[in-house]
């Protein structure tokens, strides 16, 4: 009898222990709490909060965090913000959240004059002209991002002016070049 009783207690404890273990497995912080996007006007504080979240399970929301940081930075536009975002992206690369290429392209997309939409390996006639409209649409969207990064976040009118001018010149030169390349075969 005692033996049977002991067995029941042991079994109960085992079940309780398993249940506790299962609960522990599921005890990753609920995403709504752990991955809350940073708030407040202070960019440095927001970046710290974002780093903490991104290295503790929220890496899948990197884009949303990045966008939130840009929005916060818009509240205090200054040229120093470029350095803050650069450091943040370098950190993201070191943490394995982004590849080096992704980090470079993201930085350039928002804070550079050049257009990552124009990255290509083959000649203009062969690769760009067959999808000229698509390329221009991508550049146009990138110009909007540059407006945010260069103008609204960094207050760098000169660089934004250059990016805008580059857009116009590229459009003109591509139009002429693709006309000269002839019809797509």
């Amino acid at each position: 009898m005692n033996k049977s009783r002991t067995s029941i207690v042991t079994a109960t404890l085992a079940v309780a222990a398993m249940a506790t273990a299962l609960t522990a497995c599921n005890s990753n912080p609920p995403s709504a709490t752990a991955c809350s996007l940073p708030k407040g006007p202070d960019l440095d504080r927001a970046i710290s909060a974002a780093r903490f979240d991104l290295e503790t399970g929220c890496e899948h929301q990197f884009d949303q965090y990045f966008q939130r940081l840009l929005t916060i930075a818009e509240g205090d536009p200054k040229k120093d913000n470029k350095a803050s975002f650069s450091e943040f992206l370098i950190w993201a690369n070191e943490e394995g959240l982004l590849s080096k290429r992704q980090a470079r392209e993201t930085y350039t997309r928002y804070f550079g004059v050049k257009y990552v939409s124009l990255v290509s390996d083959y000649s203009v006639c062969d690769q760009t002209c067959p999808r000229q409209d698509e390329v221009m649409q991508k550049m146009n969207r990138e110009l909007v991002d540059k407006e945010q990064g260069l103008l609204k976040v960094s207050a760098d009118r000169r660089e934004y002016y250059r990016a805008s001018r580059l857009f116009q010149e590229t459009e003109l030169v591509l139009e002429a070049t693709c006309e000269a390349c002839g019809p797509i075969e």
Binding site: K79, D80, K82, A83, S86, L89, I90, A103, R104, E105, Y107, T108, F111, G112, V113, K114, Y115, V116, L118, V119, S120, D121, Y122, S123, V124, C125, Q127, T128, C129, V135, D156, R158, E159, Y161, R162, R165, L166, Q168, E169, T170, L172, V173, L174, E175, A176, T177, C178, E179, A180, C181, G182
Partner: protein, 280 residues
């Protein structure tokens, strides 16, 4: 009586506009070519010669048109001062109207005479430029290196005052525009940045459009001439005729000056900003 149409007007107006804007680009090119060695071979001597020739033909046409337009202007003033509007039956007014019609016909004739030569020159230049652009920009460059070419020219220049005006900015008084281009080049001295890819593209696309406009204009001129000859029998000036003349005048004498900014700021070179190691 309606003798010419709105289409005629827009069409000739566009044609003259294109023609003039084409001419304007020739002068700086010749000077640039002499003062620097381009890294991309878009303007070899042969292309420059063709451009120069096209410019000469266009200039001849412009000179001829300018004289006729000045006369038309005077005749129109006389017509207005004589209060001929609404008084078309008056013999004096009819005479002025016929004289205006004759001048208008003369304008059409000048255009008709010069257009074949102009067409040949434009097509030849366009064809040469097309080959150069295809080879130098289309086949030798990727879209990334093309961008680097353009951005390189931007940063080297330091400011944008010496950058060529883009398409669609014609309309300034012609002599002033030439003067500005000359000053632009003269001021730049040895550090001229001609943004050759942009200039070549600009000229090429203009040539393409001009060529198409010439072809269409040649088709239309004989019809417009016939209509005006018929109109001579009735001695009436039409609003369309006045508008064509006004359009041509605005190109030659720059009545749209205020709408056409020549170059863009900034004039000074600001300090270098933050350089990220991530920058491509």
């Amino acid at each position: 009586m309606k003798t010419t149409t709105i289409r005629d007007r827009d069409y000739k107006r566009n044609f003259v506009r294109r023609l003039m804007s084409g001419c304007l680009l020739f002068m700086p090119l010749a000077v640039h070519a002499a003062s620097q060695t381009p890294t991309i071979k878009l303007f070899p001597t042969t292309v420059l010669e063709e451009i120069k020739h096209t410019g000469n033909v266009a200039a001849e046409m412009e000179t001829g048109l300018q004289a006729v337009i000045t006369r038309l202007d005077e005749q129109q003033n006389l017509y207005m001062e004589s209060k001929c509007e609404g008084n078309e039956g008056d013999p004096g007014c009819e005479q002025i109207a016929r004289q205006m019609g004759k001048s208008y016909l003369e304008m059409l004739t000048i255009m008709g005479d010069k257009l074949p030569e102009m067409e040949t020159a434009v097509n030849s230049t366009s064809s040469s430029l097309e080959k150069r652009i295809r080879r130098e920009l289309g086949q030798k460059k990727t879209s990334w290196s093309l961008q680097e070419l353009l951005i390189g020219e931007q940063s080297e220049s330091g400011n944008n005052a010496d950058r060529p005006a883009l398409r669609g900015r014609s309309g300034m008084r012609l002599s002033d525009r030439f003067h500005q281009y000359y000053q632009l080049v003269a001021r730049s001295g040895g550090e001229v940045n001609s943004s050759l890819a942009v200039v070549a593209s600009d000229i090429y696309l203009d040539m393409q459009e001009t060529s198409s406009l010439i072809a269409r204009t040649r088709e239309e001129i004989s019809r417009a001439t016939l209509m005006e000859q018929l109109n001579q029998s009735f001695g009436t000036i039409t609003p369309e005729m006045q508008e064509v003349v006004a359009g041509v005048k605005s190109i030659l004498f720059g009545e749209e000056d205020a709408l056409m900014p020549m170059t863009a700021p900034p004039a000074s070179r600001p300090e270098r900003g933050y350089e990220s190691p991530l920058k491509l």
